[in-house]
Amino acid sequence: MTPPTQTLEQRPGADGPRGSGPLNTQDQALHTRTLPRFAPLGLLAVATAVSVGISLALGWNRAAMVVVAAILYLVAINLVSRSVENGRRATDRTVTGLVTIAFLIALLPLTTLLYTVLSNGLGALSGEFFSASMRNIIGEGGGIYHAIWGTLIVTGLATLMSVPIGVFSAIYLVEYGKGALARWITFLVDVMTGIPSIVAGLFAYALFVLFLGPGVRSGFGGAVALSVLMVPVVVRATEEMLKLVPNELREASYALGVPRWRTIVKVVLRTASAGIATGVTLAVARVIGETAPLLVIAGSTDSVNFNPFDGRMATLPVFTFYAYSEPGVPAEFSVERAWGAALVLILIVLVLNLIARLISRAYSPKTGR
């Protein structure tokens, strides 16, 4: 790290301001010496090279190499910038480096996960995989047709139940709620956000046992369990979006002689609709991969079941879990199907996000001339 420091420090200080005169003193005050553009990248290369050298010499693994390189870079950029530029710039460059490293660390599990699922799951995808159930399948073949439908039905029903409850609760909290009741609802929503998903599953199971007796399994029960998890997310997201709608718009609407409920439906909800759609999609994405509650109440089956009110219903997460934990013999086909199902689940979430983007774009407040 020392060589670049020296070369940079050897640059004559007078090459900045040209000429001399009364303006020169002001120039001096406004211009500070700046590291050349390539300095951060160059330092990073040097830090990496040094780190590789140390690691090879001491026989460290690659992870240690990366960590050492990052630390070396941060120290080097701070010292170099401090000696050439000034303390504020040095802090700026160091924090920029820290933030970038944090971003890369955050990105690491995501990319690894995507890569792993893609590389293991792509091979499983085929026409049969999407069009066949697991009925009478042992070993090779079969598919996740039943689980895809199960997931779509259970999550769809959960969404149908949660969105009205969540959106109406949020409207109450933002537009009408005053006093103790609103405070209690807010508090309970906060508590509900933290409910472990297995508890939601047990709650739904206990609820349905009351009516239908022990051992009950149904897709609808799964939907109830998921909506317990989904409602607080929808309430929170919608509440934040409704609060963002400026009061001036409500007043503008009232001043035109528009009743309050029409103002809420046509101005407030309409203005916030893009954000609400995004919030709902995030809530769906949050519950679509839930395994524990569905394990308890929706159960698992090898056959297609379109009726959520009767009998077990396979879903993608539960299918993935069983295909991996109880693969049978030979195991390889079942494990491959598990990866394939996981990949399909990710793809469904991806598509949902894209749809939310489109809705958001179509409904968001228009700008431009």
Binding site: K178, P246, E248, L249, R250, E251, A252, S253, Y254, A255, L256, G257, V258, P259, R262, T263, K266, V267, R270, T271, Y363, P365, K366, T367, G368, R369
Partner: protein, 259 residues
Amino acid sequence: MAKSIDVTDLDIYYGDFKAVEDVNVTIPAKQVTAFIGPSGCGKSTFLRALNRMHEVIPGAYVDGKVLVDGQDLYAVEVDPVAVRRQVGMVFQRPNPFPTMSIYENVIAGMRLNNTKMKKSEADDVVESALRAANLWVEVNERLARPGSGLSGGQQQRLCIARAIAVQPQVLLMDEPCSALDPISTSAIEDLIHELKANYTIVIVTHNMQQAARVSDDTAFFNLSGTGKPGRLIEFGETRKIFSNPDEKATEDYISGRFG
């Protein structure tokens, strides 16, 4: 169709706080009436009491009578929504609906109330309201574009067009030019002069020259100290208020010797 407004013994409250006290005034029809006075003296509060917008704020209420055309706005059986259809309002900051085009903004009063109207009728309403607001020439080529894409002055005229499209009897304006440049201000002042032929206009302004330019009558509000309610000090013809007011406080305020 423009109506006069008779206010008797009006007190206006925000919860326990009395903001405006004991206002008695008659605002004449088809005239421009300006409210002037220092910040916090209750001009805007009083203005909002004239179309029951005041009570939108939680805890706010009024005590007293506001008669428009002989009907008390605060009578028990009166629907505030119906009041606001007759007494329109333009706000300090332009607030076009961001999800709507220019066209939709103008007929927002009808659209939001689900009033059925033919396309040709709607077109007529939009054109006449925009013409009345002196905006037609500038925007008739781009009615389908979003209202928020206009300049500040144009947006404020769009809001005026939106307010007059529902054909109110009274138009309340709460510092409509305070966020605008002198040219837009002048456009809106010209507009106020034209609108006076058909509407009773009440305008709150901090700009004394503006009050003198646009209004026929002027009401001066003042408050005796912080935490005390605002009062109507003097009401009269603008010419008289600005040249020879009865009250010393009015003269002090207008001549800049206030406070």
